[in-house]
Every structure is written in C-alpha cells, then in structure tokens.
C-alpha cells in the first residue's frame, strides 16, 4: 500500500467563511497544536516555550500550554520538539484533536458574549490573553489575537456544533 497517499480532512473543511461588515467567522488551517504539560513546580516554562519559536504559545491551564501553528508539523519535527521539551515538560500531539475558528469584527466580542461569561472588554481580556470557557454548551479555548479578533480552539468532535452555534449567534449582525 505504499502507493496509497493518505489524505487529510480538516474538521471544518467544508465551511466557508461567513463575512459581514460587523462580524466574520472563518475556520483556521489545521496546522499543529501541541499540548505541553509540565511537572508540578516547574518554573519559567512559558518563556522557555516562547524561546523555542515553534509557534504561538497559549496558556492552557496551570502547568499546561498549547503551542499553536498554522503549518502542520512533520512526525520528525514533532518528535524533536518532544525531546527538546523533556525533562522540563511533556508534549502531547493535539493537532488533529482540536479545530480552530477565528472570529473577527466589531461585533465579535458581542457574539461571543452570547455564549461565554468571560468579560471580554479590552481591559479585562487584553490581546494575548487566553482562557478556556463554556461557549453555550461547548467548552472552548479563547485567545484574543487582536482588539476585534479572537481565536477559538475546540475539541474536533464539537467543532461543527460550535460553528453552527456561532453562525446562529452572529446572524443578527449580518
């Protein structure tokens, strides 16, 4: 079967961006997502991870981070990264386990506020801040990537439902 070429199917592959003047919803490429887990008490992991330059570093949970990139990582790169992380942390490949959605626009925060109890005002949730929260009934990881732009990371199995919910929640601004 070495002539067989396995093909990749993104979770939100069939979704085309929904765009209006006030809010835009788009599926981000399924590149690489690495969950990094440090042992209890390990210090300065975040800056160590940023220093690796392997992608955006998002805080995930105490002692845990996500390294996020638009480009897929090869098996070798992934292995090398995992080895680099040890012993300060352990890596777990979540590239296929999570889907990413981007929401932009003047009403992006308002749309998300229909689902999350996070205070998304710029003071309370500045650019670069991440949090995991419920959006409606679905848990998702939110990062403010710009003043009117958010990145959502959600379990792959829920991605389509979350997309549908966001579509509904943004309908009145289209």
């Amino acid at each position: 079967m070495s002539d067989f070429r396995p093909t990749f199917r993104p979770a939100l592959g069939a979704k085309t961006a929904i765009t209006s003047a006030e809010v835009k919803l788009s599926a981000l490429p399924e590149g690489a997502i690495v969950q990094v887990l440090a042992p209890p008490g390990e210090q300065d992991v975040a800056s160590f991870l940023s220093g690796l330059g392997k992608g955006g570093v998002r805080t995930f949970s105490p002692g845990q981070w996500l390294i996020v990139g638009d480009e897929p990582m090869t098996q070798e790169d992934m292995k090398t990264l995992f080895e680099t992380l040890e012993p300060r942390a352990t890596g777990v490949d979540q590239s296929a386990g999570r889907a990413r959605i981007r929401i932009d626009g003047k009403q992006a925060g308002r749309v998300l506020s229909k689902g999350t109890a996070l205070d998304l005002s710029a003071d309370a949730f500045p650019v670069g801040r991440s949090a995991t929260t419920l959006i409606g009934h679905i848990a998702a990881h939110i990062t403010r990537i710009d003043s009117d732009s958010f990145e959502l990371i959600v379990l792959r199995g829920f991605a389509e439902s979350l997309w549908d919910d966001l579509t509904r929640m943004s309908a009145e601004y289209r």
Partner: protein
C-alpha cells in the same frame, strides 16, 4: 456566591463551568480502620454555614479546587487549588 465561583486560575466563572463533588475531606490512609473509611465515604458533617468542598473547573482549567462556601448564604469565602489546599498562602 454560587452563581459565580472564583477560580484561583481563571477568575470568577459561572457555576455551569464547574462540577461539584462535595465535602473536601482528607482521604484516610490505606491501612486506617474501617470506621474511618465508612466515615470518609458515607458520613457528612453537612453543616449549615461554613463548608469546605471540592469543585472542579470542568469547562475551564480543569483544576480541582477547594472552595470554602457558606451553605446558608452561598457566600464564598475563598477558593484555592486542591493540590495546594494545605498551604495557607494558596487561597484567593
């Protein structure tokens, strides 16, 4: 304040992001007598007033917390990560 639970890691979050387990008791040592184990598994102080309980931030950081809450007023006195519950400076 059982509408919003102050997570020491995430800030105030709504109750539906959490799972409540109940009394934050200390698990007996494995060789402790049966009575202590029955106490641990089945008996509860169930006070009207100050209560230490385990809450899990299930849809957030997924950390287990020890929340000190009043069962009569629902006011939350403090919360801290369960892993550091023994340390006095861990409370928020």
């Amino acid at each position: 304040m059982a509408s919003l639970v102050p997570c020491p890691h995430c800030g105030a979050r709504p109750k539906e992001e959490f799972t409540v387990k109940g009394a934050a008791q200390v698990r007996p040592a494995p060789d402790t007598d049966k009575k202590s184990w029955v106490d641990y598994v089945y008996l509860r102080e169930n006070p009207r007033g100050r209560y230490e309980e385990f809450w899990h931030h299930t849809s957030g950081c997924r950390r287990w917390l020890v929340v000190i809450r009043d069962t009569a007023t629902h006011e939350i006195e403090s919360s801290c990560d369960a892993a550091f519950a023994g340390q006095t400076d861990a409370r928020t």
